[in-house]
Amino acid sequence: MKKLVGGFLVGVIFTMVLALFMMPSLMFKEHVSPFGFEETVARIQHNIQKNPNGWSLSGLRDPGKAVQNDGGNVLPVMMIEACSTKYSAPILKTDDRRYLSILMPCKVSVYKKNDGKVYIGTMNAGLMGKMFGPLVGEIMGHVAADQKTFLEFDPNTPAPQIILPKAPSGGGAGGGAGGGC
């Protein structure tokens, strides 16, 4: 009996430790971009606009600007924010799910690392959604599928222009391009 309980506890601890280490890689995904920094941002933005499910750009943040203003340096980072009312509305209408607005808008992050390569970071929307019940799970499933299309690049098309927010405002508000949200 002792052995059984002991074994069980060891198993639980092992799984917890494993989950702790695996968590970041389960919740977030990272890809290497085949393009330069600005081109990656621009292509993702245009992919978001091309998607038929009501997506619109709601901001482009440069968190590095705030660091620069404080006299520091960081390698380039840009956060592309996108939103679709098709997905946000149902969640926002449900009182006991409204707190999930903190997950909005949907973000894709583009950043350079010390190896000189450009990376794309996304949240694992599908998995996260499953943690919040069937309604959210289904919606986030759609978001995850759409998010995938944001990162499908056609290298044969010429590099598009970055879409700057209409009222650029440094590291702050990210601008008011946001239709939809």
């Binding site: 330069g36 920094f37 600005e38 081109e39 941002v41 621009a42 292509r43 660091v67 620069q68 203003n69 404080d70 006299g71 520091g72 340096n73 390698l75 380039p76 350079k112 010390n114 190896d115 000189g116 010429p158 590099a159 598009p160 222009q161 970055i162 009222a167």
Partner: protein
């Protein structure tokens, strides 16, 4: 929503209205300048002379040389001093390699060469009127004092005017609809002063044909840099000008790309300029043991690493991307209507220009690192080249064990440019001119090269092709705050990671490139030992149990 928008609008309006008020109250001089009729209140002049009171400068100058003549009435030796410098001669004889360098002679892989394009290029000459090879280098009034000593920020020389500023309102770039106003020479002359980041930057920030193009560590973001970009030049910090480090003596400005100082003598911090052959190095102020002692091993790196290697972690950090590639071979494509055209990249920078070819830009660039001992060898026009290889327009000498080298960060600029297939030599070609041979007028390489080579009196086989070239630029400006210097692990990366110095040969660095054989043997034996004791212990436990059961 509407209310929000209105609030926002009101806020913006408030800011717009408030800004001029703030400026005006903090800087009375700026407010007074346009109103010349009102007697100017006493400007704060730190110098002992107010040039506005000199009667030599109380006249309506018609041209730059007229101003210079006025300057020379008091500054009798100034022009003679200038005439000895590279800023004037555009020529430099490397005393060691005997290579004849300088802008007049070198072919680079940006705009390539000056000859046959003088009128355009000499917008950055400290002189007036260098429009062809007949320019008189001994005429003192041809020296341009204003371009370096202007404080009004209104003096601007335009390409195509052979080093003169516009004396009439001029449309520039041609057909752009933008008007550059005629310079007010009297105002500029009366307000001359010390050089500034802006005056040096007028040329040095725009090398290679545009802002940030050439150097990567010099661009217009350094006019008023914030602290993150450059700790020394930051306006809210030390506010260094270029001259603070490039401490000038008799108009001779120290610091050279042709003969850089790669490994300054071991020196303690001292007052620069006193018996100092290299006031422009970091060491001349900081010495060779600049880090706090304690446990830190940073000082033990200073014999192998240039300060710049750690303290300039990336270049082009001011928001201006630098050019990393220029491919001349694609120049000359025309659109459906037979007109030259441009395309832009994602960031809005030229990706293609019919006159110039393909470009690539990058911001926040991680430098490449090389051993460098201060010797630079150029592929000159005369140099025979092997077109099957990437031609190094300049190559930096150095090695891990010559005792004279340090590891330096460099920008490596890639290009493709024409060469003479008959003679295997780089060519000079005619890019700018009002004649019909200029590449930018009629996109004909044959004519442009033929004209350029005749201009310098060089032999040309008549056949050209394009060769890949590479040029290196030492990175030494845009020094980051110390907390942003490279951390240990950025070079001493574990074998799985990427280290900044991974490609630098000839050094053993703890944390990477460990001896594979040793690792295999060491871990193997340790593992065997572990297995041995585990086996031994296991057997003991097993046999003990069996014994108990009996």
């Amino acid at each position: 929503m509407l209310v929000k928008r209105l609030q926002y609008l009101a806020l913006m309006l408030g800011i717009v209205l408030a800004v001029p008020v703030v400026q005006a109250s903090s800087d009375p001089a700026a407010e007074m300048k346009p109103a010349a009729a009102v007697p100017a209140p006493a400007k704060e002049i730190r110098s002992t002379a107010d040039h506005g009171k000199f009667k030599e400068l109380q006249k309506d100058f018609k041209s730059g040389p007229e101003v210079t003549q006025a300057c020379l009435t008091c500054h009798t030796e100034a022009a003679k001093q200038i005439m000895k410098t590279k800023h004037w001669t555009w020529e430099f004889l490397n005393p060691e390699s005997k290579q004849r360098l300088g802008k007049k002679n070198v072919i680079n892989n940006f705009c390539t060469a000056v000859p046959s394009n003088y009128e355009f290029c000499t917008a950055c000459h400290v002189g007036y009127g260098w429009k062809d090879s007949s320019f008189d280098f001994n005429k003192q009034e041809n020296v341009d004092c204003l371009v370096c000593h202007d404080t009004t920020k209104t003096y601007r020389k335009l390409p195509g005017m052979a080093g003169h500023p516009p004396y009439q309102d001029t449309e520039f770039p041609p057909k752009s609809g933008k008007i550059v106003p005629a310079v007010n020479l009297k105002d500029v002359a009366q307000n001359i002063g010390k050089t500034s980041r802006a005056t040096c930057g007028a040329c040095h920030f725009n090398g290679g044909g545009g802002d940030a193009v050439k150097h990567g560590d010099l661009d217009s973001s350094l006019k008023d840099p914030k602290k993150y970009l450059d700790v020394h030049m930051a306006k809210d910090g030390l506010n260094f000008t270029c001259g603070t480090c490039h401490e000038t003596d008799g108009h001779n400005i120290p610091g050279s790309r042709y003969t850089p100082i790669a490994k300054p003598k071991d020196a303690n911090p001292h007052i620069r300029g006193k018996n100092d052959s290299d006031p422009v190095t970091c060491q001349s102020c900081h010495g060779n043991k600049p880090h706090p002692q304690a446990l830190s091993r940073l000082n033990s790196h200073t014999d192998k690493l240039a300060c710049q290697t750690c303290h300039i972690p990336e270049y082009a950090r001011g928001g201006k991307p630098t050019k990393t590639l220029w491919d001349w071979s694609t120049a000359g494509k025309l659109d459906k209507d037979g007109k030259p055209f441009k395309t832009k990249d994602s960031g809005g920078h030229d990706a293609y220009d019919s006159r110039k070819g393909d470009f690539k830009y990058e911001a926040n660039v991680i430098p490449e690192y090389i051993w460098f001992n201060g010797k630079v060898n150029y592929t000159l026009r005369e140099t025979k080249l092997d077109p099957n290889q990437v031609i190094k327009v300049n190559s930096f000498e150095g090695s891990a064990d010559d005792g004279k080298s340090k590891i330096w960060p460099v920008k490596v600029f890639h290009g493709k440019q024409p060469y003479d297939i008959g003679n295997n030599q780089l060519v000079v070609f005619h890019t700018y001119g009002k004649d019909d041979s200029a590449l930018w007028s009629n996109f004909n390489w044959d004519k442009a090269i033929d004209y350029g080579m005749k201009e310098i009196g060089a032999e040309y086989s008549g056949k050209y092709a394009f060769v890949s070239t590479e040029m290196s630029w030492p990175i030494t400006h845009m020094v980051a705050p110390k907390k942003d210097a490279l951390a240990c692990a950025q070079c001493h990366a574990p074998q799985t990671g990427v280290g900044r110095l991974d490609k630098v040969p000839g050094i053993y660095m703890p944390g990477r490139r460990a001896n594979e054989w040793l690792n295999t043997a060491g871990w193997g034996l340790a593992l065997l030992t572990l297995l041995g004791v585990l086996g031994h212990g296991g057997l003991r436990i097993y046999l003990a149990r069996k014994g108990d059961q009996k």
